[in-house]
Every structure is written in structure tokens, then in C-alpha cells.
Amino acid sequence: MVTAKLMTSSEAISKFVCASSSISLGGFTVNRNPMALVHEIIRQEIGNLHVMMHSGSQALDLLIGAGLVRFLEIAYGANGRFASTCIRFRKAVQDGSLQVEDYSNFQMSLRFLAGAMGVPYLPTYAGLGSDIISKWGFSKKQRSTVESLPNEKLIVTSNPFNSIPEQLVIVPAANPDVTLLHVQQASAEGLIRIEGLAFADIEQARAAEHVIVTCEELVPSDQLRKESWHNSLPHLLVDAVVHHPYGAHPTACFLYYDYDAAHLNDYRSLAEDDESFEAYLTRHITSLESFHDYVKLIGTKHLGSLLASKELGYARREH
């Protein structure tokens, strides 16, 4: 049937992402970051990006470090024990090269949900009284010139169903141009299946104009249509499918492999210094032709040590 969606990551990125695109990345901290796709954006040097995220970590930090992100709407820029604040993110905000506006994880997830639902806003109580409401990262004027930014950040409003005054805050819809996901299984037709936590991947995908998916396994559509209630998105919402085993490395892919703690710890040190960070980018991304070469570079033996127990979903730590 329709297999026009099956392509390389290079094709997918050049087809759907361009300078000044607004993008969102799936996954959460150490899990299912769309690394293969982010490598490709870096290789193609697509810049001036507007990134919308809940909790960004490894994939986002590479994009920022490569100097490709101009605007960032985000709730969290850290990676648990591997970076209490993501290094290149921290540096870029501090040196003013990256403009950031802060939300909470719930607010960002609701913004994607609003985009997915097709409404301009959703209400919540989260954040009332905090500086997340009062402090903006983008001026009103800037918002009027950057199309992908909402006209206002957050608006405090009241509940018209209640005669007693009751306040809520409404969050504006986020509708990225492109959402990038890495998932466990996909089919050429564009069916996808996420196992374990979905994070906000579904809302991020539905809110986007285009969706690019990399997968650990490319499986026949017939197989995914058998228990279709376990599918995560209908095929109509997915524009490009790329088969990239280990496509989330050095982050984890539940049931397939664990995160690469050694690599993440090394990265944290290398990212602290501009030169060693540049060297990291060159060695792992820009000097390579594709993510397949990156997988070769990391090496079968090392990747084998990360293989997940099918029962646990992660690699048991050695005692």
C-alpha cells in the first residue's frame, strides 16, 4: 500500500524541517529522545529553530549546543542524575544566545493537548500565584512578529459557571510545525506503537502540522492492526517513518535498551568546555554520514551491554 512515508532520516528532515521551523521533541529526560533525527538536523545545520518542550534533555542540549535554537519554550532543562541542569542549555541562557520562556510540565503538556484538541487554550489551576505567570521570556512586541509564539504567555481568568469568584489560568495552544518521535515499533503505513510511558508524545504529535517517527523495529501494518487498540497514533497523523535501531541512544528505549550512563556522564564533562563539546559534535555527528555510522562508532559490543531485559524493560545493574 502507501509506502511513500518510508524514508531516510536525511530525507525526512530535509522534507519537513527548515530554518525557523517550530519543533517539539518526544521522549522525556533519559528515555526515547529522537536522537537520530536531531543528529540529522545538526548535520543539515538547520538553524533559528523554535523548540517547544516539556522536559528536554540530551536531544535538546545537542541542538542548543550546535547553535541551532533561537527560541525555547520549556518546563525543564535537566537530565536527572546526569545533569542537574543541561550544560549547553545553561550556558546558552546565561550568555544570552538563547531566549527562553518558562512553563511547568503540566502547562506545556496542556498546551500540546490544546493544540491536539484544536482549541486555542485550556484552563488549569497549576501555577497560580507563581512567577511562571508573571514573568515572560518574550515581549508582547516580539510575540507579534514571531508567528509561532502565542500572543500572550498565560492569562489569569475566572470560572463563569461559578457565581463565587474562582480563578484559573489559561494556557495557549502549542502547535509545532514538526514533532520528532522515537518509538518502539512503526509500520511503513505510519502506524506506531509506544510501549511503557507515552510521556506527552501523543499530544505533541497530534498538535503538530507534521510528524516524523524513527523506530526500533519496522513491522508489517497487518501486525499492528491486529490489536489496534494498542496503537499510539493512527497512520494518518504520521508523515515520515525511518527505521533507526538505537535511534534514541544514549537515552533509553524501554524494552529495547537502557540509557548509556557512561556516555551521558562523559557528555556532561565534554559539554562544559566549548572545544571539547565541538569535538564531541564532530566525532559523533558532523563528521559522519548518517546515524548508522554513529551506531557503528558506538559499537556493537558496547550497545550490547545496554540491552534491556525483556521482562524488566531495562538492563539490570551489576552488583
Binding site: F28, S55, F89, N105, Q107, A200
Partner: protein
């Protein structure tokens, strides 16, 4: 390190002691999670631990290093999405039953927290990770507790940025801005446990660890504390230390 236990062990155990069998505990990772895991593996086996990523009541056979770690997924009651977790906290049936454990870089006398920037928001001296789900938990759940390293530069009169609402400007101000419930009940630090005066919602010392004196704790605090009612917290028992060291974190992933 004091005597035969560390400050980190002491505060983790102080946290664990205060978690009950019926509690539904929202947790990040690090020490607060160790405390919750310790409670679950000892006196509170039925308490439920959940994460903002959507994992509820996982097996936690190994310690997760972020809330996105695959170790929060295995053996759970449900693996959903971020929205599932936050809806659970915001829902007026389920939210009030949740006990949230938070942390931050700065805390003020009313338990408000900063985890976003040090210095000016537009030109920060130091950029921190940001809210994550902290602001949401602080806004929505029934009760929160806060883990802090007890240092003067962290306990400040005025936050550089208020990421997570505590008692805001004191009694009544949460409901004034529209927060539906909640507020911090305890601050568990490296030196002692603090609570909030019920008539003002201002922080005060509730207990101090054996190695810390109330006066010294005031010294390490950037605002005035009422320390007059503080009692000494019991030292960790051997059973407690054994549970923490051998059962909860045998690989010393978090403890040092």
C-alpha cells in the same frame, strides 16, 4: 559525616519516618525517592509512589535516576502519560490525597521555591533547570514536603524567582490567588525538620537532628526562625540504616 551516619542518610530517614501506609506519594528522584522507597520497603508497604511521567506504583526493583528512567515503568499499576499524572493531582477526588515531595535551589519563609534562575530572570547569573512538574505539584496536591540542603544562601527572605507556590505571602493567600488546596507542611533539611505556624504559615523549626543545635540552624537560615519549640529528632536506628544502605540503595547510587 557525623558519628556513624551522614546528613543525607539522616534527612532521608526523617522523610521515611513521616510516610504512612495510606499515603500516595508523588516523587522526583534522588533523596526524596530514597525516603519514599525506604518507607515502602519497611513500615508502609501499601503506600503508593508515583511520578509525573505517568508511572503509578511501579515495582522499583532498582533506583531510577530520573523520572523518565525505564525503572519507573516496570511492574506499575499503570503507565500513562504526563497528563494522566497531572490530572490525577488536579482532580478534586484524587489530588487531595496526594503527598508531594519537592525540592528547590532557594526557599523563602513561606515555603515558596525557586528552581528556575539565580539573579534576574532576563539576564540570570545562573540558569537552573526550571519547574518541571514542581510548580504543578506545589499548586495541586493536598500536602507537600520539601527537601533542602540547609544553607543560608538557600533559605532566603526573597526568592529570585518563584517557581513553585508554597504559602505565598502567608495565611489565606493560596486561596486568594485561586489555588484549590494544598501547601507545604514540612521542610526536611540536612539539619532538621521545619513546619509552618498554623496562624501565619511562616516557617519555624520543628525538630533538629542530634548533631545540630537550634541556634546553629538559625545561623544557617537567611531569615528569622522560631526555634523555641524544636525537639531533638531521634538518631537513625540500626534497622533504619540497614534498610536504607542494604535494601534501598545497596549500590550507593544516591547516597554519596
Amino acid at each position: 559525616m557525623r558519628a556513624d551516619f551522614t546528613e543525607m542518610e539522616m534527612m532521608t530517614i526523617a522523610c521515611a519516618r513521616r510516610i504512612g501506609n495510606e499515603d500516595i506519594v508523588f516523587c522526583g528522584t534522588g533523596l526524596p525517592l530514597l525516603g519514599a522507597m525506604m518507607a515502602k520497603k519497611t513500615h508502609a508497604p501499601n503506600c503508593v509512589i508515583f511520578f509525573e511521567t505517568g508511572a503509578l506504583d511501579p515495582a522499583l526493583d532498582e533506583i531510577p535516576l530520573t523520572v523518565g528512567d525505564s525503572r519507573v515503568m516496570h511492574g506499575a499499576s499503570q503507565n500513562g502519560s504526563l497528563l494522566d499524572a497531572f490530572f490525577y493531582m488536579q482532580n478534586s477526588r484524587t489530588g487531595p490525597n496526594v503527598l508531594g515531595i519537592l525540592s528547590g535551589a532557594q526557599i523563602d519563609p513561606y515555603g515558596n521555591l525557586n528552581s528556575t534562575v539565580i539573579g534576574d530572570y532576563d539576564k540570570p547569573d545562573a540558569r537552573l533547570p526550571g519547574s518541571g512538574g514542581a510548580c504543578d505539584v506545589a499548586s495541586l496536591v493536598g500536602r507537600t514536603r520539601i527537601f533542602m540542603k540547609h544553607e543560608k544562601r538557600r533559605f532566603v527572605e526573597q526568592l529570585d524567582y518563584m517557581t513553585s507556590p508554597g504559602w505565598l505571602r502567608g495565611i489565606g493567600s493560596r486561596s486568594e490567588v485561586g489555588l484549590p488546596r494544598g501547601g507545604p507542611e514540612l521542610v526536611i533539611t540536612t539539619l532538621g525538620v521545619l513546619d509552618f505556624d498554623e496562624s501565619t504559615r511562616r516557617m519555624r523549626l520543628s525538630s533538629h537532628y542530634s548533631y545540630a543545635e537550634p541556634d546553629g540552624i538559625q545561623e544557617s537560615t537567611g531569615f528569622k526562625l522560631d526555634t523555641s519549640h524544636s525537639k531533638e529528632e531521634e538518631n537513625p536506628t540500626l534497622e533504619e540504616l540497614e534498610a536504607l544502605r542494604e535494601v534501598v540503595d545497596p549500590l550507593r547510587l544516591i547516597l554519596k
